[in-house]
Amino acid sequence: MEINGGGGSAADVSRILSELETLKTVKSDIDRRISALEAQLRDTTNIEDKNDSVSNGSCPLISAVHSNINHDLTPDSVYRYSRHLLLPSFGVQGQSNLLKSSILVIGAGGLGSPALLYLAACGVGRLGIVDHDVVELNNMHRQVIHTEAYIGQPKVKSAAATCRSINSTIQIVEYQEALRTSNALEILSQYDIVVDATDNAPSRYMISDCCVVLGKPLVSGAALGLEGQLSIYNYNGGPCYRCLFPTPPPTSACQRCSDSGVLGVVPGIIGCLQALEAIKIAGAVGEPLSGRMLLFDALSARIRIVKIRGRSSQCEVCGENSAFTQQQFKNFDYEKFTQAPLSTLPVKLNLLPEDSRISSKEYKEKIDNGEAHVLVDVRPEHHFKIVSLPNSINIPLVSLEVRLPEISKALKEEEERKAGASLYVVCRRGNDSQRAVQCLQKMGFNSARDIIGGLESWGRDVDPNFPTY
Protein backbone atom coordinates (compact mmCIF):
# COMPACT_ATOMS: atom_id res chain seq x y z
CA MET A 1 0.00 0.00 0.00
CA GLU A 2 1.25 3.40 -0.89
CA ILE A 3 1.06 5.60 2.16
CA ASN A 4 1.08 8.91 0.34
CA GLY A 5 -1.88 7.89 -1.87
CA GLY A 6 -1.52 10.67 -4.42
CA GLY A 7 2.10 9.87 -5.16
CA GLY A 8 3.38 12.27 -2.49
CA SER A 9 7.00 12.23 -1.40
CA ALA A 10 9.10 13.30 1.57
CA ALA A 11 9.63 16.62 -0.22
CA ASP A 12 5.84 17.18 -0.28
CA VAL A 13 5.55 16.47 3.42
CA SER A 14 8.35 18.84 4.16
CA ARG A 15 6.79 21.54 1.94
CA ILE A 16 3.40 21.15 3.67
CA LEU A 17 5.00 21.26 7.11
CA SER A 18 6.92 24.37 6.24
CA GLU A 19 3.82 26.05 4.79
CA LEU A 20 1.85 25.14 7.93
CA GLU A 21 4.59 26.64 10.06
CA THR A 22 4.53 29.88 8.05
CA LEU A 23 0.74 30.14 8.23
CA LYS A 24 0.75 29.51 11.96
CA THR A 25 3.28 32.27 12.49
CA VAL A 26 1.22 34.68 10.39
CA LYS A 27 -1.94 33.67 12.26
CA SER A 28 -0.43 34.23 15.68
CA ASP A 29 0.93 37.57 14.52
CA ILE A 30 -2.53 38.62 13.36
CA ASP A 31 -4.06 37.43 16.65
CA ARG A 32 -1.55 39.51 18.54
CA ARG A 33 -2.30 42.59 16.42
CA ILE A 34 -6.05 42.12 16.93
CA SER A 35 -5.58 41.91 20.72
CA ALA A 36 -3.41 45.01 20.72
CA LEU A 37 -5.91 47.00 18.62
CA GLU A 38 -8.81 45.85 20.78
CA ALA A 39 -6.95 46.94 23.91
CA GLN A 40 -6.16 50.27 22.25
CA LEU A 41 -9.83 50.73 21.35
CA ARG A 42 -10.90 50.02 24.91
CA ASP A 43 -8.41 52.48 26.34
CA THR A 44 -9.52 55.17 23.91
CA THR A 45 -13.20 54.61 24.71
CA ASN A 46 -12.48 54.73 28.44
CA ILE A 47 -10.64 58.02 28.08
CA GLU A 48 -13.47 59.48 25.98
CA ASP A 49 -16.00 58.37 28.60
CA LYS A 50 -14.00 60.06 31.30
CA ASN A 51 -13.55 63.22 29.21
CA ASP A 52 -17.28 63.30 28.56
CA SER A 53 -18.14 63.11 32.20
CA VAL A 54 -15.66 65.88 33.01
CA SER A 55 -16.44 68.29 30.16
CA ASN A 56 -20.16 67.73 30.30
CA GLY A 57 -20.38 68.20 34.02
CA SER A 58 -23.60 70.15 33.71
CA CYS A 59 -25.13 67.53 31.48
CA PRO A 60 -24.49 64.12 33.07
CA LEU A 61 -24.45 60.90 31.07
CA ILE A 62 -27.64 58.94 30.91
CA SER A 63 -26.14 56.09 32.88
CA ALA A 64 -25.21 58.43 35.69
CA VAL A 65 -28.81 59.57 35.96
CA HIS A 66 -30.31 56.12 36.06
CA SER A 67 -27.74 54.29 38.11
CA ASN A 68 -25.86 54.99 41.25
CA ILE A 69 -22.41 53.45 40.93
CA ASN A 70 -19.94 53.70 43.81
CA HIS A 71 -17.15 51.67 42.27
CA ASP A 72 -14.84 51.74 39.31
CA LEU A 73 -16.09 48.64 37.47
CA THR A 74 -17.15 49.32 33.89
CA PRO A 75 -20.58 48.05 32.76
CA ASP A 76 -18.80 45.29 30.82
CA SER A 77 -16.88 44.28 33.93
CA VAL A 78 -20.05 44.22 36.00
CA TYR A 79 -21.56 41.78 33.52
CA ARG A 80 -18.43 39.70 32.98
CA TYR A 81 -17.72 39.26 36.70
CA SER A 82 -21.37 39.34 37.86
CA ARG A 83 -21.15 35.90 39.53
CA HIS A 84 -18.24 37.14 41.63
CA LEU A 85 -20.10 40.34 42.50
CA LEU A 86 -23.08 38.29 43.67
CA LEU A 87 -20.94 36.59 46.33
CA PRO A 88 -21.51 38.45 49.61
CA SER A 89 -18.05 37.47 50.85
CA PHE A 90 -16.30 38.61 47.65
CA GLY A 91 -18.50 41.18 45.95
CA VAL A 92 -17.57 44.48 44.36
CA GLN A 93 -14.71 45.08 46.76
CA GLY A 94 -13.07 41.70 46.10
CA GLN A 95 -13.42 42.08 42.33
CA SER A 96 -12.19 45.64 42.40
CA ASN A 97 -9.11 44.54 44.40
CA LEU A 98 -8.52 41.75 41.91
CA LEU A 99 -8.70 44.07 38.90
CA LYS A 100 -6.09 46.33 40.50
CA SER A 101 -3.74 43.45 41.38
CA SER A 102 -0.83 41.95 39.52
CA ILE A 103 0.18 38.28 39.73
CA LEU A 104 3.26 36.56 38.31
CA VAL A 105 3.06 32.85 37.46
CA ILE A 106 6.46 31.20 37.12
CA GLY A 107 6.15 28.08 34.97
CA ALA A 108 3.46 27.45 32.36
CA GLY A 109 3.43 23.67 32.82
CA GLY A 110 1.22 21.28 34.78
CA LEU A 111 0.64 23.66 37.70
CA GLY A 112 0.84 26.92 35.78
CA SER A 113 -1.69 25.87 33.11
CA PRO A 114 -4.80 25.71 35.29
CA ALA A 115 -3.54 28.51 37.54
CA LEU A 116 -3.18 30.83 34.54
CA LEU A 117 -6.56 29.85 33.06
CA TYR A 118 -8.37 30.81 36.26
CA LEU A 119 -6.28 33.89 36.99
CA ALA A 120 -6.91 35.23 33.49
CA ALA A 121 -10.61 34.39 33.66
CA CYS A 122 -11.17 35.93 37.09
CA GLY A 123 -9.87 39.34 36.10
CA VAL A 124 -6.44 39.82 37.63
CA GLY A 125 -5.41 43.25 36.33
CA ARG A 126 -1.95 42.25 35.14
CA LEU A 127 -0.82 38.67 34.70
CA GLY A 128 2.85 37.81 34.07
CA ILE A 129 4.00 34.44 32.71
CA VAL A 130 7.60 33.18 32.91
CA ASP A 131 8.79 30.05 31.08
CA HIS A 132 11.71 29.21 28.82
CA ASP A 133 10.41 25.89 27.51
CA VAL A 134 8.54 24.86 24.37
CA VAL A 135 5.30 22.85 24.17
CA GLU A 136 5.82 19.12 23.62
CA LEU A 137 3.38 16.33 22.83
CA ASN A 138 4.09 14.63 26.16
CA ASN A 139 3.01 17.81 28.00
CA MET A 140 -0.51 17.79 26.61
CA HIS A 141 -2.04 15.34 29.12
CA ARG A 142 -1.60 17.80 31.97
CA GLN A 143 -0.59 21.20 30.61
CA VAL A 144 -4.12 22.00 29.57
CA ILE A 145 -3.54 25.63 28.59
CA HIS A 146 -1.64 24.52 25.46
CA THR A 147 -3.19 23.14 22.29
CA GLU A 148 -1.67 20.79 19.71
CA ALA A 149 -1.25 23.67 17.28
CA TYR A 150 1.43 25.12 19.59
CA ILE A 151 3.66 22.03 19.77
CA GLY A 152 7.23 23.19 19.24
CA GLN A 153 6.41 26.80 20.12
CA PRO A 154 7.27 28.64 23.35
CA LYS A 155 4.95 27.81 26.26
CA VAL A 156 4.77 31.49 27.19
CA LYS A 157 3.44 32.41 23.76
CA SER A 158 0.92 29.57 23.81
CA ALA A 159 -0.25 30.29 27.39
CA ALA A 160 -0.56 34.02 26.72
CA ALA A 161 -2.63 33.41 23.59
CA THR A 162 -5.06 31.19 25.52
CA CYS A 163 -5.29 33.70 28.39
CA ARG A 164 -6.05 36.50 25.90
CA SER A 165 -8.70 34.40 24.21
CA ILE A 166 -10.41 33.88 27.58
CA ASN A 167 -10.13 37.48 28.77
CA SER A 168 -9.03 40.21 26.39
CA THR A 169 -9.59 42.92 29.00
CA ILE A 170 -6.61 42.14 31.21
CA GLN A 171 -2.94 42.82 30.62
CA ILE A 172 -0.79 39.75 29.92
CA VAL A 173 2.97 40.08 30.11
CA GLU A 174 5.21 37.44 28.51
CA TYR A 175 8.68 36.53 29.80
CA GLN A 176 10.06 33.97 27.40
CA GLU A 177 13.18 33.29 29.43
CA ALA A 178 14.44 31.13 32.28
CA LEU A 179 14.23 32.74 35.70
CA ARG A 180 17.74 33.37 37.04
CA THR A 181 19.19 35.41 39.88
CA SER A 182 20.17 37.93 37.20
CA ASN A 183 16.59 38.69 36.07
CA ALA A 184 14.42 37.53 39.01
CA LEU A 185 14.54 40.76 41.05
CA GLU A 186 13.56 42.89 38.11
CA ILE A 187 10.69 40.65 37.04
CA LEU A 188 9.25 39.76 40.47
CA SER A 189 9.42 43.36 41.73
CA GLN A 190 6.73 44.35 39.22
CA TYR A 191 4.08 42.08 40.79
CA ASP A 192 2.03 41.97 44.01
CA ILE A 193 1.88 38.18 44.28
CA VAL A 194 4.12 35.38 42.99
CA VAL A 195 2.90 31.88 42.06
CA ASP A 196 5.62 29.21 42.03
CA ALA A 197 4.59 26.65 39.42
CA THR A 198 8.11 25.40 38.66
CA ASP A 199 9.36 21.84 38.74
CA ASN A 200 12.73 21.80 40.49
CA ALA A 201 14.38 22.41 43.87
CA PRO A 202 16.84 25.23 42.97
CA SER A 203 14.04 27.30 41.40
CA ARG A 204 11.94 26.88 44.52
CA TYR A 205 14.71 28.17 46.81
CA MET A 206 15.55 30.98 44.40
CA ILE A 207 11.94 32.16 44.07
CA SER A 208 11.33 32.03 47.83
CA ASP A 209 14.50 33.98 48.61
CA CYS A 210 13.63 36.55 45.95
CA CYS A 211 10.14 36.96 47.44
CA VAL A 212 11.68 37.50 50.88
CA VAL A 213 14.06 40.24 49.73
CA LEU A 214 11.24 41.92 47.81
CA GLY A 215 8.56 41.33 50.46
CA LYS A 216 6.17 39.46 48.14
CA PRO A 217 3.74 36.71 49.16
CA LEU A 218 4.51 33.37 47.46
CA VAL A 219 1.87 30.79 46.54
CA SER A 220 3.85 27.58 46.19
CA GLY A 221 2.52 24.34 44.73
CA ALA A 222 4.12 21.04 43.79
CA ALA A 223 2.88 17.79 42.32
CA LEU A 224 4.40 14.44 41.43
CA GLY A 225 2.96 11.04 40.77
CA LEU A 226 -0.36 10.95 42.56
CA GLU A 227 0.37 13.51 45.27
CA GLY A 228 0.40 17.27 45.59
CA GLN A 229 1.44 19.89 48.15
CA LEU A 230 0.48 23.54 48.60
CA SER A 231 1.37 26.39 50.94
CA ILE A 232 1.79 30.16 51.06
CA TYR A 233 5.17 31.48 52.12
CA ASN A 234 6.40 34.88 53.27
CA TYR A 235 2.91 36.21 54.00
CA ASN A 236 1.60 37.98 57.09
CA GLY A 237 4.50 36.93 59.32
CA GLY A 238 4.36 33.30 58.16
CA PRO A 239 7.39 31.19 57.31
CA CYS A 240 9.38 31.30 54.08
CA TYR A 241 10.36 28.16 52.14
CA ARG A 242 13.76 28.14 53.88
CA CYS A 243 12.22 28.30 57.37
CA LEU A 244 10.61 24.98 56.53
CA PHE A 245 13.48 23.48 54.54
CA PRO A 246 16.72 25.17 55.71
CA THR A 247 18.86 22.43 54.14
CA PRO A 248 18.18 21.25 50.60
CA PRO A 249 17.25 17.59 50.18
CA PRO A 250 19.72 15.18 48.56
CA THR A 251 19.38 15.19 44.77
CA SER A 252 18.31 11.54 44.82
CA ALA A 253 15.18 12.67 46.70
CA CYS A 254 14.19 15.19 43.99
CA GLN A 255 12.18 13.24 41.48
CA ARG A 256 10.98 14.73 38.22
CA CYS A 257 7.69 14.17 36.42
CA SER A 258 9.70 13.08 33.37
CA ASP A 259 11.20 10.21 35.38
CA SER A 260 8.57 9.30 37.94
CA GLY A 261 5.42 10.16 36.02
CA VAL A 262 2.45 12.24 37.09
CA LEU A 263 -1.29 11.80 36.71
CA GLY A 264 -2.33 14.84 34.68
CA VAL A 265 -5.22 15.93 36.84
CA VAL A 266 -3.09 16.00 40.03
CA PRO A 267 -1.06 19.14 39.14
CA GLY A 268 -4.36 20.39 37.69
CA ILE A 269 -5.95 20.30 41.14
CA ILE A 270 -2.95 21.85 42.87
CA GLY A 271 -2.68 24.55 40.17
CA CYS A 272 -6.37 25.41 40.66
CA LEU A 273 -5.78 25.67 44.41
CA GLN A 274 -2.81 27.97 43.73
CA ALA A 275 -5.08 30.21 41.66
CA LEU A 276 -7.61 30.17 44.50
CA GLU A 277 -5.05 31.18 47.13
CA ALA A 278 -3.65 33.92 44.88
CA ILE A 279 -7.19 35.23 44.29
CA LYS A 280 -7.84 35.26 48.07
CA ILE A 281 -4.68 37.30 48.70
CA ALA A 282 -5.35 39.65 45.76
CA GLY A 283 -9.02 40.07 46.64
CA ALA A 284 -8.21 40.43 50.36
CA VAL A 285 -10.77 37.80 51.34
CA GLY A 286 -10.75 34.69 53.53
CA GLU A 287 -7.88 32.98 55.29
CA PRO A 288 -4.98 32.26 52.94
CA LEU A 289 -3.09 29.01 53.53
CA SER A 290 -0.18 30.60 55.40
CA GLY A 291 1.44 28.71 58.29
CA ARG A 292 -0.44 25.67 57.03
CA MET A 293 0.22 23.16 54.30
CA LEU A 294 -2.23 21.20 52.18
CA LEU A 295 -1.25 17.63 51.34
CA PHE A 296 -3.22 15.91 48.60
CA ASP A 297 -3.21 12.16 48.00
CA ALA A 298 -5.15 11.39 44.83
CA LEU A 299 -5.16 7.61 45.09
CA SER A 300 -6.78 7.49 48.53
CA ALA A 301 -8.87 10.65 47.89
CA ARG A 302 -7.46 12.32 51.00
CA ILE A 303 -6.71 15.96 51.63
CA ARG A 304 -4.88 16.79 54.83
CA ILE A 305 -4.27 20.32 56.02
CA VAL A 306 -1.51 20.51 58.60
CA LYS A 307 -0.12 23.26 60.79
CA ILE A 308 3.48 24.10 60.01
CA ARG A 309 6.07 26.08 61.94
CA GLY A 310 5.99 29.88 61.93
CA ARG A 311 8.73 32.18 60.67
CA SER A 312 12.04 30.99 62.09
CA SER A 313 14.09 33.64 63.87
CA GLN A 314 17.15 31.58 62.86
CA CYS A 315 16.25 31.54 59.16
CA GLU A 316 19.24 32.52 57.04
CA VAL A 317 17.08 34.55 54.68
CA CYS A 318 14.05 35.90 56.56
CA GLY A 319 15.25 35.46 60.19
CA GLU A 320 15.86 38.25 62.71
CA ASN A 321 19.60 38.40 62.22
CA SER A 322 19.61 37.69 58.53
CA ALA A 323 21.35 40.19 56.34
CA PHE A 324 20.34 38.57 53.07
CA THR A 325 20.29 41.47 50.61
CA GLN A 326 19.32 41.84 46.98
CA GLN A 327 23.02 41.84 46.11
CA GLN A 328 23.60 38.58 47.99
CA PHE A 329 20.61 37.12 46.21
CA LYS A 330 22.10 38.07 42.85
CA ASN A 331 25.37 36.35 43.72
CA PHE A 332 23.85 33.23 45.28
CA ASP A 333 24.49 29.99 43.38
CA TYR A 334 21.25 28.00 43.72
CA GLU A 335 22.45 25.14 41.54
CA LYS A 336 25.46 24.64 43.80
CA PHE A 337 23.32 25.05 46.94
CA THR A 338 20.89 22.31 45.90
CA GLN A 339 23.37 20.29 43.79
CA ALA A 340 20.72 20.31 41.06
CA PRO A 341 20.33 22.15 37.75
CA LEU A 342 17.74 24.94 37.30
CA SER A 343 16.78 23.46 33.98
CA THR A 344 15.11 20.08 33.91
CA LEU A 345 17.36 18.55 31.27
CA PRO A 346 18.21 14.99 32.25
CA VAL A 347 21.78 14.46 33.41
CA LYS A 348 24.25 12.53 31.26
CA LEU A 349 26.64 10.45 33.33
CA ASN A 350 29.98 9.25 32.07
CA LEU A 351 31.07 6.51 34.45
CA LEU A 352 32.68 3.97 32.15
CA PRO A 353 35.83 3.81 29.99
CA GLU A 354 35.22 3.88 26.24
CA ASP A 355 35.88 0.17 25.74
CA SER A 356 33.03 -0.68 28.11
CA ARG A 357 30.50 1.10 25.93
CA ILE A 358 29.01 0.76 22.47
CA SER A 359 26.70 3.03 20.51
CA SER A 360 23.17 2.02 19.54
CA LYS A 361 24.29 1.88 15.87
CA GLU A 362 27.13 -0.49 16.73
CA TYR A 363 24.68 -2.66 18.68
CA LYS A 364 22.39 -2.72 15.61
CA GLU A 365 25.31 -3.98 13.48
CA LYS A 366 25.97 -6.74 16.00
CA ILE A 367 22.34 -7.89 15.74
CA ASP A 368 22.49 -7.75 11.93
CA ASN A 369 25.67 -9.85 11.97
CA GLY A 370 23.96 -12.40 14.18
CA GLU A 371 26.55 -12.00 16.91
CA ALA A 372 25.90 -14.13 19.99
CA HIS A 373 24.91 -11.91 22.91
CA VAL A 374 22.56 -11.30 25.81
CA LEU A 375 20.85 -7.92 26.23
CA VAL A 376 19.83 -6.96 29.76
CA ASP A 377 17.36 -4.08 30.14
CA VAL A 378 17.79 -2.61 33.65
CA ARG A 379 14.78 -0.26 33.64
CA PRO A 380 11.97 -0.75 36.18
CA GLU A 381 9.36 -3.31 35.12
CA HIS A 382 6.64 -0.71 34.36
CA HIS A 383 9.05 1.05 31.95
CA PHE A 384 9.81 -2.28 30.25
CA LYS A 385 6.07 -2.74 29.68
CA ILE A 386 5.90 0.53 27.72
CA VAL A 387 8.38 -0.62 25.09
CA SER A 388 11.49 -2.81 24.85
CA LEU A 389 14.00 -4.15 22.35
CA PRO A 390 13.39 -7.66 20.99
CA ASN A 391 15.01 -10.50 22.94
CA SER A 392 16.03 -8.27 25.84
CA ILE A 393 15.59 -9.58 29.36
CA ASN A 394 14.31 -7.23 32.04
CA ILE A 395 16.27 -7.18 35.29
CA PRO A 396 15.69 -3.83 37.06
CA LEU A 397 18.82 -2.18 38.46
CA VAL A 398 17.57 -2.45 42.06
CA SER A 399 17.37 -6.24 41.84
CA LEU A 400 20.44 -6.75 39.63
CA GLU A 401 22.69 -8.23 42.31
CA VAL A 402 20.22 -10.85 43.48
CA ARG A 403 19.30 -11.84 39.92
CA LEU A 404 22.85 -12.37 38.59
CA PRO A 405 22.22 -16.14 38.21
CA GLU A 406 19.60 -15.35 35.54
CA ILE A 407 22.24 -13.49 33.53
CA SER A 408 24.74 -16.35 33.92
CA LYS A 409 22.08 -18.79 32.74
CA ALA A 410 21.13 -16.69 29.72
CA LEU A 411 24.79 -16.28 28.76
CA LYS A 412 25.35 -20.03 29.06
CA GLU A 413 22.37 -20.82 26.84
CA GLU A 414 23.51 -18.29 24.25
CA GLU A 415 27.02 -19.71 24.43
CA GLU A 416 25.63 -23.18 23.61
CA ARG A 417 23.88 -21.72 20.56
CA LYS A 418 26.95 -19.86 19.32
CA ALA A 419 30.35 -19.40 20.92
CA GLY A 420 31.66 -16.09 22.26
CA ALA A 421 28.49 -14.55 23.64
CA SER A 422 28.86 -10.99 24.89
CA LEU A 423 26.76 -9.10 27.44
CA TYR A 424 25.12 -5.74 26.76
CA VAL A 425 23.11 -3.54 29.11
CA VAL A 426 20.52 -0.97 28.13
CA CYS A 427 18.25 1.48 29.96
CA ARG A 428 16.16 4.54 29.06
CA ARG A 429 18.86 7.21 28.68
CA GLY A 430 22.15 5.44 29.34
CA ASN A 431 22.82 6.34 32.99
CA ASP A 432 21.51 3.32 34.90
CA SER A 433 23.06 1.02 32.26
CA GLN A 434 26.49 2.41 33.22
CA ARG A 435 25.80 1.83 36.91
CA ALA A 436 24.71 -1.70 36.05
CA VAL A 437 27.87 -2.38 34.01
CA GLN A 438 30.03 -1.15 36.93
CA CYS A 439 28.20 -3.59 39.20
CA LEU A 440 28.40 -6.45 36.69
CA GLN A 441 32.12 -5.99 36.08
CA LYS A 442 32.72 -5.98 39.83
CA MET A 443 30.82 -9.28 40.05
CA GLY A 444 32.97 -10.92 37.40
CA PHE A 445 31.08 -10.17 34.18
CA ASN A 446 34.13 -8.47 32.70
CA SER A 447 32.79 -8.26 29.14
CA ALA A 448 29.64 -6.32 30.15
CA ARG A 449 29.16 -3.17 28.09
CA ASP A 450 26.45 -0.51 28.06
CA ILE A 451 24.60 0.99 25.11
CA ILE A 452 25.40 4.70 25.06
CA GLY A 453 22.33 6.90 25.36
CA GLY A 454 20.00 3.94 25.96
CA LEU A 455 16.72 3.40 24.17
CA GLU A 456 16.52 7.14 23.50
CA SER A 457 19.53 6.88 21.20
CA TRP A 458 18.08 3.73 19.61
CA GLY A 459 14.95 5.72 18.76
CA ARG A 460 17.00 8.62 17.48
CA ASP A 461 19.85 6.91 15.59
CA VAL A 462 18.60 3.45 14.61
CA ASP A 463 14.82 3.15 14.50
CA PRO A 464 12.83 6.40 14.27
CA ASN A 465 9.61 4.40 14.70
CA PHE A 466 10.71 3.11 18.10
CA PRO A 467 8.37 4.78 20.66
CA THR A 468 10.05 7.27 22.99
CA TYR A 469 8.53 8.39 26.28
Binding site: D199, A222, A253, S300
Partner: protein, 99 residues
Protein backbone atom coordinates in the same frame (compact mmCIF):
# COMPACT_ATOMS: atom_id res chain seq x y z
CA UNK B 1 0.74 1.87 72.67
CA UNK B 2 -0.89 1.97 69.25
CA UNK B 3 0.27 4.51 66.66
CA UNK B 4 -0.73 5.22 63.08
CA UNK B 5 2.24 5.98 60.85
CA UNK B 6 1.84 7.42 57.37
CA UNK B 7 4.47 7.82 54.68
CA UNK B 8 4.04 10.11 51.68
CA UNK B 9 5.73 12.10 48.96
CA UNK B 10 7.67 9.01 47.86
CA UNK B 11 8.85 7.86 51.32
CA UNK B 12 6.36 4.98 51.12
CA UNK B 13 8.67 3.46 48.48
CA UNK B 14 11.13 2.78 51.32
CA UNK B 15 8.56 0.62 53.11
CA UNK B 16 7.33 -1.62 50.31
CA UNK B 17 4.97 1.06 48.94
CA UNK B 18 2.65 0.80 51.94
CA UNK B 19 1.52 4.27 53.01
CA UNK B 20 -0.37 3.60 56.24
CA UNK B 21 0.99 1.41 59.03
CA UNK B 22 -0.89 0.72 62.26
CA UNK B 23 1.78 -0.31 64.74
CA UNK B 24 2.21 -1.21 68.39
CA UNK B 25 5.26 0.16 70.16
CA UNK B 26 6.48 0.15 73.76
CA UNK B 27 8.77 2.57 75.62
CA UNK B 28 12.39 1.37 75.69
CA UNK B 29 13.45 -0.63 78.74
CA UNK B 30 13.76 1.46 81.88
CA UNK B 31 11.78 4.42 80.57
CA UNK B 32 8.12 5.40 80.72
CA UNK B 33 7.92 7.83 77.85
CA UNK B 34 8.02 6.99 74.18
CA UNK B 35 9.42 9.94 72.25
CA UNK B 36 9.90 10.70 68.55
CA UNK B 37 13.58 9.75 68.80
CA UNK B 38 12.49 6.26 69.88
CA UNK B 39 9.98 6.12 67.06
CA UNK B 40 12.58 7.01 64.42
CA UNK B 41 14.84 4.16 65.44
CA UNK B 42 11.83 1.81 65.65
CA UNK B 43 10.79 2.83 62.11
CA UNK B 44 14.32 2.32 60.79
CA UNK B 45 14.52 -1.16 62.30
CA UNK B 46 11.01 -2.34 61.52
CA UNK B 47 9.61 -0.52 58.49
CA UNK B 48 12.36 0.87 56.28
CA UNK B 49 13.27 -1.91 53.87
CA UNK B 50 15.70 -0.09 51.54
CA UNK B 51 17.90 3.01 51.21
CA UNK B 52 17.72 4.12 54.89
CA UNK B 53 19.73 7.22 53.92
CA UNK B 54 16.63 8.43 52.08
CA UNK B 55 14.84 8.56 55.43
CA UNK B 56 17.43 9.37 58.10
CA UNK B 57 20.45 11.62 58.37
CA UNK B 58 22.36 11.43 61.65
CA UNK B 59 19.83 10.92 64.44
CA UNK B 60 16.98 12.78 62.71
CA UNK B 61 15.10 12.67 59.41
CA UNK B 62 16.97 13.77 56.28
CA UNK B 63 16.55 17.31 54.91
CA UNK B 64 13.35 17.67 52.91
CA UNK B 65 11.25 15.39 55.13
CA UNK B 66 8.42 16.98 57.11
CA UNK B 67 7.31 15.22 60.28
CA UNK B 68 3.78 15.82 61.51
CA UNK B 69 2.44 14.63 64.85
CA UNK B 70 -1.37 14.75 64.83
CA UNK B 71 -1.35 17.06 61.80
CA UNK B 72 1.11 19.46 63.40
CA UNK B 73 4.73 20.15 62.40
CA UNK B 74 6.98 18.43 64.97
CA UNK B 75 9.02 21.65 65.22
CA UNK B 76 6.06 22.96 67.26
CA UNK B 77 6.03 20.02 69.67
CA UNK B 78 9.72 19.52 70.42
CA UNK B 79 11.03 17.60 67.39
CA UNK B 80 12.91 14.48 68.53
CA UNK B 81 11.75 15.02 72.12
CA UNK B 82 8.04 15.06 71.27
CA UNK B 83 6.28 12.62 73.60
CA UNK B 84 3.91 10.28 71.81
CA UNK B 85 0.67 8.99 73.21
CA UNK B 86 -1.65 6.12 72.44
CA UNK B 87 -3.58 6.61 69.14
CA UNK B 88 -1.29 9.39 67.89
CA UNK B 89 -0.91 9.79 64.13
CA UNK B 90 2.60 10.49 62.84
CA UNK B 91 3.09 11.50 59.20
CA UNK B 92 6.43 11.46 57.36
CA UNK B 93 6.27 13.31 54.10
CA UNK B 94 8.95 14.07 51.57
CA UNK B 95 8.64 17.51 50.02
CA UNK B 96 7.78 17.47 46.32
CA UNK B 97 9.38 19.68 43.66
CA UNK B 98 7.62 18.58 40.50
CA UNK B 99 5.09 20.51 38.52
Amino acid sequence: MQLTLEFGGGLELLCESVKIHKVNVDPPNGTEKFIMKDLLSWVCTNLIKERPEMFMKGDSVRPGVLVLVNDCDWELSGQLDTTLEDKDVVVFISTLHGG
